[in-house]
Structure formats: structure tokens, C-alpha cells
Amino acid sequence: MKEPDQGDRVSETGGVDRPATFAPSRKQVGKTATVPGSLLALGVLLWEWATKVVRSQSHPPRPDSANPIAGCAECAEKAKRGAKPSEVLEVEPVSHEQIGTFLVVCAFLVALAGGIGFLITYWTGGSNLLLGATVALFFGGLGMALILWSHLLTLNRQVEEPREQMQPPPHEREAAVEDFQAGANQVHRRGLLKWMIAGASGTFAAMFLTMFRSLGQSPDSTIYSTVWKRGQRLMTSEGKPVSVNMLVPGSTVIVFPEDSIGSEKAQTVLLRVDEALLQLPSDRTGWAPNGNLAFSRVCTHAGCAVGMYETTTHQLMCPCHQSTFDVLRGAVPSGGPADRALPQLPLYADADGVLRAGGGFSDIPGPGYWGMP
């Protein structure tokens, strides 16, 4: 609904319309420092900028009156003298520049607030919702700042320069020097923005690096062993001790050490086979009372739970990558990508017939990694 007004104004003031259109909003910014006020000013500015872009596309500014640098008397003179459009590049009026800078700084401040909020939230153990919201604020502010910067503070039009004589007349060269100086001054004035983008980059780096903390504690030497110790009773996931005759040949159950029920790394598959079939290595005699065999349930390939047991072929199998282990020969790999046997847990039956661990696993349980196949 503002458009007819502005259209009129354009026709009144000719090409030099930006100071007129931006003046009210500038006042507004100065007047209200509150958040709603700033938001309103932002909205108005965006609206005016959008209408300006639309207008400049439909009515390109006339060459002889293309935006001179406000306050630069020579430039205005030069424009009057009829300089070619290429010489008077579209250097934005100061008011526009300032407002643009203000908006970009505001957006960067929003981004910084989001980033610092993220850091504070993370280190004080805030909720994931807050973490996500602050990250969104950071990237939203950063993106807004970069968009505003590119749209408001940099030249946003394609510039064409017709080929000229090789040696321009002296007044053109002077004008070029002046233009260069003006541009250099402009770059100089953006020191604040440089600091802002440096701050935003630094905040992002801090946000990125700080999340490495969430990778958890260093595993230290705990990866080389489990909590299985000699004498520990085998327990089901419900805390029932396992007797030597609980299983029948061809059945299986998952067991844990008695004080660490549910421990993922100590989980062990207990199965029973016909004792006559066993072909265990000679140093493992007595590890399988009544044909009860216990192996680590963590696949030595990639750490999945070795959950499948084929009773007809006596193969333990991992459902992730089809590593197969020959139970009768001590779970040596018989197929698939795993090339280390499943560590076996030595067992013995106590006086009550309850199965107990005869020690730790025969090998390091768990998947291979860079230090271990």
C-alpha cells in the first residue's frame, strides 16, 4: 500500500530517490532501541530495499544522474559535466551504507548470541532443544548477515563498461583516483564488519571443537578385558544362576557375570552341545563341563551381537556381516569377514552344579580396530 506513494516520489525526485526513501526508517532506528522497534525498522528497511530493487529493474537510473556519492561535490559536478555512466559507479549513499552496516552488525550479533548461547548451554548441560535452537539462531543470524551484506553493502548490479580510448582525458583519471579513494575509504570503514565475521568464525570453531567432548571418556585399558573373573557365577539376564544341566544339547542362553548383568561387553553366549562332538584345542580341556560352552557374544569383526546359532551345523553366526564361527572347535571363524576366534570363557561347575567362570576370556573380546585385527 506504500507503493503508489513511492512511485510518485520517484517521479518527483527523479533518479536520486534513495535518501528520501531511507530517511524515515533511519529516524525510526534511532528513535526506538527496543527489540520490537528494531524488528519493525528491519521490516521497513527490507520492504524499502525490495521496492528499490524492483524499481531499479523496471526503471534503470538515467546515466547522467546515477547516484553520486553524497557529500562529494566533485562527483556531483562531474556528473553534471556529463561524465559517462561507467565512471560514476554505483557507490551507495552514506545513509544507505550506514543502515546496511547496522543491519549486518545486528545479524552478526544475533549469530554471536546464538553461538555463545550454545556454548553456555552445552557446558551447563542444557537440553537438546536449547542446543538445537541456539545452533539454529547462530546459523540463521550468520546467513542473514551474509545475505544482508551481499545485498545491501556490495554492488548488486551487473556493470558494463564500453570500450574507450586508451588514454582517458585527465579529468577522467582524476575522477578515477577519487573513486578509488572513496572505495578504499569504504573498505576501511568496514573494519567492524571484519571483526564481526572473525568473531562468528571463531565462535563456530569453538562450537565445533567443544562437541568433541561428547565423544566420551577415553577407553584406556578397559578395551582389553571384561569384568569376567574366576569364580563368578553365570547369570541370565533375569539374574538366575545357570546350572550345569539348565540347557539341553542344542539350546542356548545369554549369560552375564553375576555382578554385571546387562554389561554389553561381557555378554556371553552359553550353549550346550553333545560332549562327544567337541574338538576343542588340547589346552582347553575341561573348559566345557557337560558340553556347556561359553563364548563372547561380541563379534570379533565389527562388534555386533553374535545372535544366530545353527544347531544342525554347530555354527554361531553374526547377523550383521555373516561371520560364522565353528562352535565345536572353539569358535574359530569358518566363514565371513571375521578372522579372529570368538574368545572362549573357561567354565567349571561348583559343588552345587552351578556354572562359574574359570577366568577371563581366552582372548581380547570385541571387534578389531587399528591396533588389533
Binding site: 539376564s237 542344542g250 539350546s251 542356548t252 542362553v253 545369554i254 545372535g307 545353527e310 553366526m317 547377523p319
Partner: protein
């Protein structure tokens, strides 16, 4: 002998036992426990078959590989042997269990082979596979869990008690035919397959868009 209603129960039971030994035990095992051979030529466990109607129907109709007995047994004999199965053989009580606990147990002991979605999967050796449990009756599943047909491990009551077995069966029944909120379930292969299909579909749409942009030529 002509009318089973006039016999005393003991006679009926012994007659049922006799028929069962003659006609059923070769496939279903001497005590109806099933035969842990290759499942396609052996009968499943009858230890959870409590429903007289279902058993009699099976004897008459002969589901799957089972022969029908309508030409070799009289109606009275079929009724007698069905009663023998439900009264003397079936000893696994099946009731409504805790579906959440059943799910835990299923993921722990069954899902490696039968998949969490109970649709079955391949096994390691000799081309055998874990069958899909869709369409399998609770009695069949319960019997199979106890006895372990084919390459399947058995889970005696010392490992899974009757209550746990009931919970397991309750979970399996719930997952056999779940609702399909997404429309196409893709055999419940899971998020990887769903994502792959989505990618292929989106790539196809992108290609189509490019084709349109070129003016629909070549």
C-alpha cells in the same frame, strides 16, 4: 468301541494314544514333541495345541504337508485322537503375556535370525533360512520355541519359562500383521531399504525435472 461317548475316559485315552502312535508319531514325534529334523518333511511340535476344533480340522483337512485322514480314520477316531492331543500332549500353557517383555526376549533370542519384524532371513550354511513367522499360529510358534526344529536352537522351560514364552508369542502375534501407517511396508526391511527406495524415487524425479527443463527432448 462304536460310540466313544460310551467308553470310559481311560479307554478313550488309550485308543487315542494308539491312533497317535500309528498315524501321527512318525512326523510329530512319539510324544508330539515334534521332530527336530528338516522342518519340511517333519511335523511340528503339538505341545501347545489346546484347541480341539483346530486339531480336528487339521486331522480332517491336512494343512501344509500333512495328509488328510478323512479316508483312513473314522470320524470317531479323528475326534478321539484330537482329544488325545489336546488333553494329553498339549502341556505348554499359552495365555496373554506382556508384549513389551516379549519384545525384549524376541530381540535377544530370535531377531538375529527371524528379524525384528518376524519376516525371516537367511542362515549361514547349506542354504537354509529362518522362516517368516507371518501366518504361523501361536501354538506352532510356541511348540517350535520349546523344541527347536531344524537348525533352530531349543529353548526349554529352564531358559524361557511358560510366562516368558507367552509374552514372546504375544509379541510375535502383534508384529505378524501390524498397521502400515506409511502405506507401503516394503516387507518391513527397515529404514535402510526405505531410505534407498526414497533416494531412487527422488533421483528419478530429479531426472524427470531435468528432462522437462530441457523441453522434453532427448
Amino acid at each position: 468301541m462304536l460310540c466313544p461317548g460310551q467308553q470310559n475316559p481311560g479307554d478313550s485315552a488309550s485308543r487315542g494314544e494308539q491312533i497317535f502312535a500309528q498315524r501321527c508319531s512318525k512326523c510329530h514325534g512319539e510324544h508330539g514333541e515334534g521332530i527336530s529334523g528338516v522342518i519340511s518333511i517333519a511335523g511340528p511340535s503339538l505341545k501347545a495345541e489346546h484347541d480341539f476344533g483346530k486339531v480336528l480340522t487339521a486331522v480332517e483337512v491336512g494343512p501344509s504337508h500333512m495328509p488328510s485322514f478323512v479316508y483312513s480314520l473314522s470320524i470317531d477316531d479323528m475326534r478321539t485322537v484330537s482329544h488325545y492331543v489336546t488333553d494329553k500332549i498339549a502341556d505348554i500353557p499359552l495365555e496373554e503375556g506382556d508384549i513389551g517383555h516379549g519384545g525384549d526376549l524376541f530381540r535377544m533370542y530370535c531377531a538375529s535370525c527371524h528379524r525384528t519384524a518376524v519376516r525371516g532371513g537367511a542362515l549361514a550354511y547349506d542354504g537354509s533360512n529362518a522362516p517368516s513367522l507371518v501366518g504361523k499360529s501361536p501354538e506352532l510358534i510356541a511348540g517350535a520355541v520349546r523344541w527347536g526344529p531344524g537348525p533352530m536352537p531349543s529353548f526349554p522351560s529352564s531358559v524361557l519359562d511358560d510366562k516368558q514364552l507367552s509374552s514372546l508369542v504375544t509379541y510375535i502375534r502383534a508384529v505378524q500383521n501390524p498397521a502400515k501407517p506409511g502405506g507401503i511396508a516394503l516387507n518391513w526391511y527397515g529404514p535402510v531399504v526405505e531410505g534407498c527406495v526414497a533416494w531412487i524415487a527422488v533421483l528419478g524425479l530429479v531426472g524427470f525435472t531435468i528432462w522437462i527443463e530441457k523441453g522434453g527432448k532427448g
